[in-house]
Structures are given as C-alpha cells and as structure tokens.
C-alpha cells in the first residue's frame, strides 16, 4: 500500500500550530515533491487560533484529509496528550513538551519529551517561536521531510525580518531532537 504519514499538532489556541502545520505541508509538497494536506479544527468561530492542526503527507493523492491513525502527535499541553494519544498508531510517536506534560499515558507508541517552550524562551529568546522549535524536533524524529525543505518552507512563510529568529528556532529544535539520540 502507499505511503501515508499523519501528523497532529495539538496544544492551545495561539501557539501557532496552524502555521507550523502549513510549513510542514509546504515543505513536503513544494520542496520535497510529495503530496501533503493540512487542516485544522477551530473554536466556536474563526476568531481564536485553532487548537489542533493536522498534516497528512503521502506519495499519492490524499483522499480523506483528516488524521485517523496518527504517526506523530505533538502535544504542547497535558490536555492534548489526554485527549488525543489514543488516536496514535501502535508504532507512532508521541512528542510532548516535557515541562507541560507530566503524565504520559501507557501505549505502544514511542514517547519523546522535549522542553520545547523552554527552549523557545531560553535558547531562542521568544516563546512565540515554540511552534518552529517543535517543527525542528518533528523533522528530526519523523524523518518524512528533509531539513532543507522545512527551512525553505519556513523562509517562505515567516514575516520579513524574522527569518533568522525562526531559523535558529528550527535549529534549536533539530539539535534538541538529536540529543534525544534518535
């Protein structure tokens, strides 16, 4: 059967997870020549940020664009861990912010804990870029998109003047993942 990789990015509204999802999808689709979709769930109206963003990467047409059998779940809050971990595949990856999420449920999935928000705040200097730090970790642990593609996609998406900041956030994420020894 064809290759299909499902990522769900979850946390709170305002954490930039939609943007992270779009960057991931663009990296895969535009720079890595795969197929990709990104979608999200909203709160009551469009106003607030979405709290859930999903990316499907495949080498075929993507018919059902929602994640049902998740390969990688990013959870930036304990609540999202609790709510979504059961959608993970048996050999899936649960990537949590290790400061925010202390209770890790049992499961056949692999678990990685990275202090993503702390890295953003302390190593990069802006909590705001936690989403990009997370992208760095994901790129490294999921291995479905190339680092170069993600970097190119970041540069294409982020506001002028913030390129350096975002690239260093991405790098910090990649490095944190490498330290996990994966």
């Amino acid at each position: 059967m064809s290759f299909r990789y499902e990522v769900r990015l979850s946390g709170e509204g305002g954490q930039g997870l939609v943007l992270a999802g779009k960057v991931l999808a663009e990296a895969a689709a535009i720079y890595d020549d795969k197929n990709a979709t990104q979608s999200q769930s909203y709160g009551p109206e469009a106003r607030g940020g979405a709290s859930r963003s999903e990316v499907i990467i495949s080498d075929e047409d993507i018919d059902y664009p929602k994640a049902v059998n998740i390969d990688l779940l990013l959870a930036l809050t304990q609540e999202s861990v609790n709510k979504y971990h059961s959608d993970l595949k048996d050999d899936g990856i649960l990537l949590v912010d290790s400061d925010a999420c202390s209770e890790i449920p049992e499961g056949k999935f692999k678990v990685y804990g990275v202090p993503i928000i702390q890295i953003a705040r302390e190593k990069v200097g802006k909590v705001l870029v936690a989403n990009i730090v997370a992208l760095g970790v994901i790129t490294e642990v999921a291995k479905v998109v190339t680092r170069e593609a993600v970097e190119a996609a970041i540069l294409a998406r982020v506001p002028k003047g913030t390129e350096e900041l975002n690239l260093s956030a991405f790098k910090a994420g990649v490095e944190a993942a490498q330290e996990l020894g994966s």
Partner: protein
C-alpha cells in the same frame, strides 16, 4: 471598600469567558452589571438580547433571560420581547458590526420608534469574531483583513446617527473609564425610550495587532489619552477633536415611548392586554 460582588448576576459555570486576554468586552460587561445592580431590578424581569459577534456572546454569561439571536437582528427580537411583555427590562448587547453594518436599519428604526430598549453597543472598530474585517466604525487609514491597504471608507459617528434617527438618550463611554461608563448605562436603563450607550471596547487580538498596538494595555492607554469629555469638547476646535473620543451623555430628551403609546391605544379601544 468591598469589591463589587458580581456573582449573583453570573453564570459562573460558563466561565472562563470566551473573550481574548485583554478584550474590553469583559470590562463593559462588568459596568453593565454594576449599573443593573444600582437600579435594583429583579433578574427575572431582565432580558438580555444580542446579535452575533464577540460582544454578542455576553448574554451567555449573565443570569437573566438571555437571547443570542442572528447577526444584526438583536433589536428586532428585543422589540418583539418588549412589545409582548412591556414589564420586562430589555437590554440589547451588540457590536459595531452587528448594530451598524448588517443591523444598521434596525438601529435607526428603533431610535425612530423610541421603543424602551437599552442598547449597549460595544464598539471595537472591527469585526472581532470573524477575524478582523473592516467595520463601519474602523477609522480611516487603519488596517483590517479586508482593508489591507488601510481603510479608505469614512466611518459612522454611530452616536450621531442614533440622535438623528430619534433616540431619546445617547451616551458614549469607554472600557478604560469603566466607572463613568457604568453611570451612563444606569441612566440609559432608567430612561423610558430608546437609549444607546456606545462603549469603546478595545480588541487587542485582531485590531490591535494589525495596527501596531502590541499589547492590550497599550490600547487602553490610547483610549485614555484620546478621551475628551463632552463638556471639554465644547471648548475645542473641530481639528483638535479629530480622532478624539468624546465621552459623556450626548443626548437626553423626553419623547413619547412606543409601548406606552401602544398601551394607551389599547386602553382607548377597550382591549385588555
């Protein structure tokens, strides 16, 4: 001095509020509740009616008879409530988009009829709920998601419009000047007729960010700096008044009220209501 106890008026189970951090709508809500408390009306007799928008979510949080209607139509629904039972005290909560874009016609007609409703219009100069599109009160030059090059439409003086249409009480206050705002609302509640209180209520999320006001606090300071009392405004030139927020009671006149007149008609005809 004790803090005012809002809890008897709240549906605390529904908290936290849906509004963003720093949104002025919560401050206006408090001002309304304090005014109602001073007036002393029974919660069972209070009806709060709203349209659609961030501001219009307020009725969900207050322990009255509450009615969250369709976009722009709060005033017609409220008109029906009030006519069916004139003993109810009906407050309309609406936004600048809700009341003056899609709902503009109902706004001026209610003013013309001078029906006894209190309209609190939370003006944040933007469509908050739908993500920051330009509104009829967005100041010229300000950016919005559908005014990417800066708004070049003129904006309504919505209090002026209410006056021209016939409202018997019009006042303007701000979320910064919350004490005064509450006083205006109290007066509006007590007024027999259509009263409008325009409450300047900052939207940090979709207006502030797009217009280089980075924090909520900055927006409140901005309001503070630009507010001028109606009294002081009388001494200033039109040029000086540009971009200023004139606060205070702008109109307060006595006119026949709609439901009262209707009652008289029924009495004349010998019908009993």
């Amino acid at each position: 001095m004790e803090s005012f106890d809002y809890s008897p008026y709240l549906r605390e189970k529904k908290f936290p509020l849906i509004w963003c951090a720093g949104c002025g709508h919560g401050i206006v809500m408090k001002a309304i509740l304090r005014a109602i408390d001073r007036v002393g009306w029974d919660r069972d007799d209070m009806v709060m009616v709203s349209g659609i928008g961030c501001s219009s979510r307020m009725p969900g949080y207050v322990d009255f008879n509450t009615l969250h209607t369709t976009h722009g139509r709060a005033i017609p629904f409220a008109t029906g409530v009030k006519m069916a039972n004139p003993d109810l005290h009906v407050i309309v909560i609406t936004g600048d988009g809700d009341a003056t874009a899609i709902g503009g016609n109902h706004y001026i007609h209610a003013a013309r009829r001078n029906i006894d409703l209190t309209v609190v219009l939370l003006n944040n100069s933007i469509y908050g709920m739908t993500g920051g599109q330009v509104s009829p009160t967005t100041p010229k030059g300000k950016r919005a998601s559908t005014a990417p090059f800066g708004n070049f439409e003129a904006s309504f003086n919505i209090s002026g419009l209410a006056e021209a249409a016939g409202a018997s009480f019009v006042a303007r206050g701000t979320a910064y000047g919350a004490v005064q705002l509450s006083k205006y609302i109290e007066k509006a509640l007590l007024k027999k007729g259509l009263s409008v209180v325009e409450a300047i209520s900052p939207c940090p999320t979709v207006f502030g960010r797009r217009n280089a006001m980075r924090s909520p606090v900055e927006m409140y300071e901005d309001i503070h700096e630009n507010s001028v009392s109606v009294k002081k405004a009388g001494t200033m030139t039109a040029d000086d008044l540009e971009d200023k927020i004139i606060t205070g009671v702008l109109t307060d006149i006595e006119k026949p009220e709609y439901t009262t007149e209707y009652k008289k008609l029924i009495a004349t005809l010998g019908g009993s209501s």
